[in-house]
């Protein structure tokens, strides 16, 4: 768990630089609320030994914060933390027993219950506050072509986090560095991230190749929204991903497919959170695929 926090640090630094100190305030509140809720529930409802020492609540807090816009009111952060920890995790018995990624449960709850606050992103450098994906969706729905979108988006900005979005998901480069650190420390294996990103790239590449005017390029898909944060940090959550490596591949392919389907044909511009939650629900089924025996 400590390694995950280290891996998230560069992205937090970039976000703070882009969006300002508010980012730190949201992260601190989210972490504090998550830890406090877990401690209270463990102490007074479950009446078991304290579990906050395993840092999982801290990770949930940071990941939840990363999935929020930097303009969100702090009371919503606390509400999200409550849903994440109380409903997403402790209801099932705590660490290791929760079927859904707690941070995403909190995030999706906020997204559905408070859509306005959750999708008003502060503007960066005078550009519009919308995320690149929302921008693209708007343009394409309005009958525009992909080239109209591309004229408004700079790939360098995508890489370095200089665009609108939930504050933890914008800094692609910093997140990739963190993901590589996790791979190097053997906290995660390459299976799930590669399957997620590979499927997204392949699927969008096929569409893009067929009709480059109506579909966004694979690079755009990979660098926007929660693709990298989701692939390296959310989908790889131990408790909510399959046990075996081959199961991880199936899981990752499913996330990649659903994400692109939602992004292109769904009502929301971004589908990573939903895709991960949907595949989380299939994990028990995937775990029933027994390891291959000779």
């Amino acid at each position: 768990m400590g390694d995950v926090l280290i891996a998230l640090a560069p992205a937090l630094a970039v976000s703070t630089w882009v969006f300002g100190a508010q980012v730190l305030a949201i992260t601190v509140v989210a972490v504090g609320a998550c830890v406090a809720f877990e401690w209270l529930i463990q102490r007074y409802l479950i009446k078991g030994p304290a579990t906050i020492g395993n840092l999982s609540a801290v990770v949930t807090g940071v990941l939840l914060a990363f999935n929020l816009p930097s303009s969100i009111p702090l009371w919503l952060v606390i509400l999200g933390a409550f849903v994440a920890i109380a409903i997403g995790k402790m209801t099932f018995g705590g660490l290791g027993k929760n079927p859904f990624n707690p941070a995403l449960v909190g995030r999706v709850f906020l997204l559905i219950a408070y859509p306005v606050q959750m999708t008003s992103f502060p503007s960066v450098d005078g550009s519009s506050g919308a995320t690149p994906l929302a921008l693209a969706k708007g343009v394409i729905k309005g009958g525009g072509s992909v080239s109209d979108v591309m004229s408004q988006v700079n790939f360098g900005d995508l890489f370095f986090g200089n665009h609108g979005g939930s504050f933890g998901e914008v800094a692609a480069l910093a997140l990739i560095l963190g993901g590589l650190y996790l791979l190097a420390r053997k906290v995660i294996t390459w299976h799930i991230p590669l399957a997620v990103l590979g499927t997204m790239a392949l699927f969008s590449a096929v569409l893009w190749f067929v009709a480059p005017d109506s579909y966004l390029s694979p690079a755009f898909h990979l660098l926007t929204g929660g693709a990298i944060l989701g692939a390296f940090f959310m989908a790889t959550d131990y408790s909510t991903s399959p046990m075996s490596r081959s199961g991880g591949l199936i899981f990752g392919v499913g996330i990649g497919l659903i994400t692109i389907v939602i992004r292109i044909w769904g009502a929301y511009p971004e589908g990573m959170s939903f895709a991960i939650l949907i595949m989380n629900s299939l994990v028990p089924l995937i775990n029933r695929i027994k390891p291959k025996r000779a």
Binding site: S239, S241, P242, M243, P291, R293, A294
Partner: protein
Amino acid sequence: MKTFPRGGIHPPSNKLSSGEAILPLSLPASVVVPLSQHIGAPAVAEVAKGDRVVVGQLIGKAGGFVSASVHSPVSGTVTAVEPLANGSGIKTPSVVIAVEGDEWLPSIDRSPELVPECRLEGPEILSLIADAGIVGMGGATFPTQVKLSPPPGKKAEILIINGVECEPYLTSDHRVMLEHPSQVLVGVGLIARALGVEKIFIGIENNKPDAIELLRKVASEMVRVLPSIEIVPLKVRYPQGGEKQLITAITGRYVPSMGLPIDIGCVVQNVGTALAVYEAVQKRKPLIERVVTVTGKGLGQPSNFLARIGTPVSALIEAAGGLPSDAQKVIGGGPMMGRAMSNLDAPVTKGTSGILVLGASEAARCAETACIKCGKCVTVCPMALEPYLLSRLVQKQRWDEAEAGAIFDCIECGSCAFTCPARVPLLDWIRLGKTEVNKIIRSRLSC
């Protein structure tokens, strides 16, 4: 480089005593020789209190088909035949002999000369092996003559000699290969002749290049008297020396679930067993002593001893520098598959490949925390089992599901428990479940 296809771990090897030559240990004042040092029926005592015995004399006769004879490792007087505590504190029938001098049976050839030639036929070799009470020396202690007699309808094609020694700390097989290469190879040839096989492999983990090179050299020098033997270097990876893993690594064949190696035409023997077979057949010396690694980071002098069966473990530890002050656990065998001993007066037996003394920092088993479903146990399991699931099923006593999960295929290598970040004692539970499920299967077969 060859290796088994799935799972496995890399524990620190800690082979502290690999450079230490085998030292004969001085005779203890008395020995305790258990009558059951093997898998199968215990031997039946052939001596009574007050009898005089000499080295090599039969003191316990094999008590069934799957059983092994026991010979006196010392000369002296039998002072008791009674149940005595073994390393686990469980009482098993044993013969206690007070040592007087060192008088050997005259039929045993004690000269150091190599006897490479053998004119005996397979069945004669087998009966000499049975008479010598030889069992699998790697620790499994299955009577060797039984393993070398395939059941009707099955034919051995490949003989594999296990010189892997993948357990951390242990060096007894390594030293045997370095110090008695010709004897081991002659023994291998005898086993091959008893089985009637042509294809012979010796698997050695690649961290013992000296042993690989030496055996290759000796095998080429002795090519006139020996069948052709291929020395196969294997990747360093635990449990490379597991019987099923070794077979797959070398031949690519898989032992079927619940099956035996002989089902796919393979027989695996340990290098220590090969040496014992050489001594039994060519020197007529029964299994009365063995090489034991006594090791541990806190020990003054980690060593490889040639100890008589029945010597108290405490005497071996004393000879290796005595128990260090921070010693917390003494393990019979290696750190992965060995058993902690609660009784240091327990004797060395035919299956004691090592005595490992662990200090407080190494022995501590951390407190168990919640399983976070990381799946590491599934990844490292060399048998493609799901240890997290099996241990849960055992705790819930759901034996039918544990059986469906092939719990009986567990080789108890301990890779899952070693790798578990939540320190769940996975193997403890699975071992319990294996016993229960095997009981259920057996009762189903009997009715």
